[in-house]
């Protein structure tokens, strides 16, 4: 009897202890939850602050890179264009600068910043060429199939940056000298940009990592990208999510490497060629230089836009100076003095040339 009572007492003590343990465990779990939440919050705040600072920082770098590109273009066009050696050196600098600008854009994108906005739509082909110019081994990239479809102005930079990241992967993870191909393929829902390399492909683990980054559920933590960071897929994921296009890298290229595909939906495409930004520059011939035959601006019609967004012009008639024309017939200068004076100088050279060559007969080759 006494034993039975003792047993019951012990049982109740044991149950009491059991409950106490459970209470402590749940208390511990709650504390741990709180701590983790607090830590996550602090980490999140720190990450958000870091991203804000980086974003502002990158923005200044992006602006500088853009300015640098403009300076290089101006030097190449206005000053050193005729010297193949200097021009080639300028191109090397330009190429490095493009890669630098792309890095800054990538970090900005990961930090929720802007890439910089283009003012006009651009053909898919030109966007692909632009992307090509932003990677180191651009000379290995071949672009097939030009289509007349254009990418809307807002999507030009995001698509170019994402494509550049995919090309960077493709060129870096395949043997030097092997080609990387871009195929532009219209599909019922839009346009596909298909990047094929002849590398070794990627492992299932890599594919999973890529697919997680390409379909981001939450903002990417920049500290989770490793050191040195591998930002390509993360950048592609953030940008495709923000601008509404799809990127996948889970198929195999015909050469055994990776096939990466960007699917641009109709909403990011337009059939309209961008409107010309500049006015028609008028040729100017001055009476002092060409007294006998004045330069007459041939009727020029704008037929589209060049890769750089400049209007493409077609001369409506052959550019042959009439025997005598009065200066008053010239059109007044409407565009920037720079363009006009430049064209004027070329025209004068050309006219002088014509005057002399016509007396010597044709030297057609």
């Amino acid at each position: 009897m006494a034993l039975r009572k003792q047993n019951t007492d012990l049982r109740s003590v044991r149950d009491g202890l059991h409950m106490e343990t459970q209470r402590l465990q749940s208390g511990y779990a709650a504390l741990r939850n709180d701590q983790e939440r607090a830590l996550a919050e602090v980490r999140g705040d720190a990450e958000a602050e870091t991203k804000d600072v980086l974003k502002a920082w990158m923005r200044s770098l992006q602006v500088l890179a853009d300015q640098q590109q403009r300076s290089i273009s101006d030097l190449a066009k206005l000053k050193y264009g005729n010297d193949p050696q200097i021009l080639a050196d300028l191109m090397t600098i330009d190429h490095t600068n493009s890669q630098f600008g792309r890095r800054a854009q990538g970090i900005a994108a990961l930090c929720g910043g802007w890439l910089g906005r283009r003012e006009t739509a651009a053909s898919v082909y030109d966007v692909a060429r632009s992307a090509t110019g932003r990677v180191k081994h651009y000379d290995r990239v071949k672009i097939h199939n030009q289509v007349s479809v254009h990418v809307t102005a807002t999507a030009v930079e995001p698509v170019a940056v994402v494509l550049a990241e995919l090309l960077d992967n493709a060129t870096n993870y395949s043997a030097p000298g092997t080609p990387v191909e871009i195929n532009i393929q219209p599909v019922p829902t839009g346009i596909c940009l298909i990047v094929d390399d002849a590398g070794l492909g990627i492992s299932q683990e890599e594919k999973d990592r890529a697919s997680a980054l390409l379909n981001p559920q939450a903002p990417v933590s920049i500290t989770s990208l490793g050191n040195p960071p591998r930002v390509g897929f993360a950048v592609a994921g953030v940008l495709s999510d923000r601008y509404g296009f799809k990127v996948s890298v889970d198929s195999v290229s015909p050469y055994g490497g990776v096939r990466a595909v960007i699917l641009l939906p109709e909403s990011l495409l337009t059939n309209e060629a961008p409107e010309p930004v500049t006015d028609t520059p008028a040729d100017t011939g001055t009476p002092e230089v060409a007294p006998r035959v004045a330069a007459v601006p041939a009727p020029v019609s704008i037929i589209g836009t060049t890769a750089g967004g400049l209007p493409k012009r077609r001369r409506a008639v052959a550019v042959v100076p009439p025997p005598s024309v009065s200066e008053s017939e010239q059109e007044p200068e409407r565009d920037s003095e720079l363009t006009a004076s430049r064209l004027g100088a070329f025209a004068r050279v050309a006219l002088r040339e014509r005057d002399t060559t016509t007396t010597e007969g044709s030297e057609d080759q």
Partner: protein, 124 residues
């Protein structure tokens, strides 16, 4: 993803010139000089897969002779880049060119004086 603030405009050229040349070696400036005149050869077909720049040259040069410098200015390309594209077309036989004339020689004063003297003594 939150974004705030205005997006800055990017105004540099979208397609860089080294992509247009494909990183190929640029021809010497002696080959197609600034004032060499070029035009399309008659009855030529635009090559398949021609780049937008080549198509622009095709349009520009179909109307008569233009100086190399003019072609470059119209395309908005550095002269060296336009020269490479033009020399490609010339190699493929699509382009006629008219070489730059030799620079005018300074007149030999002695010779002119001798001629004048000769003429005067013959006809005066």
């Amino acid at each position: 993803m939150t974004t705030h603030g205005e997006d800055a405009t990017v105004s540099s050229e979208l397609v860089r010139s080294y992509v247009i040349t494909g990183g190929r070696r640029l021809p010497s400036s002696d080959d197609l000089s600034l004032h060499t005149l070029v035009t399309l050869a008659p009855d030529r077909e635009l090559p398949l897969g021609a780049s937008p720049e080549v198509r622009a040259i095709w349009d520009l040069c179909s109307g008569g002779y233009l100086a190399v410098a003019e072609v470059a200015a119209h395309l908005g390309l550095p002269v060296g880049v336009a020269r490479l594209l033009l020399s490609d077309l010339a190699e493929q036989g699509h382009l006629l060119r008219r070489a730059a004339p030799p620079p005018a020689q300074a007149v030999d004063r002695d010779l002119i004086e001798k001629v004048l003297y000769g003429l005067q003594s013959r006809f005066a």
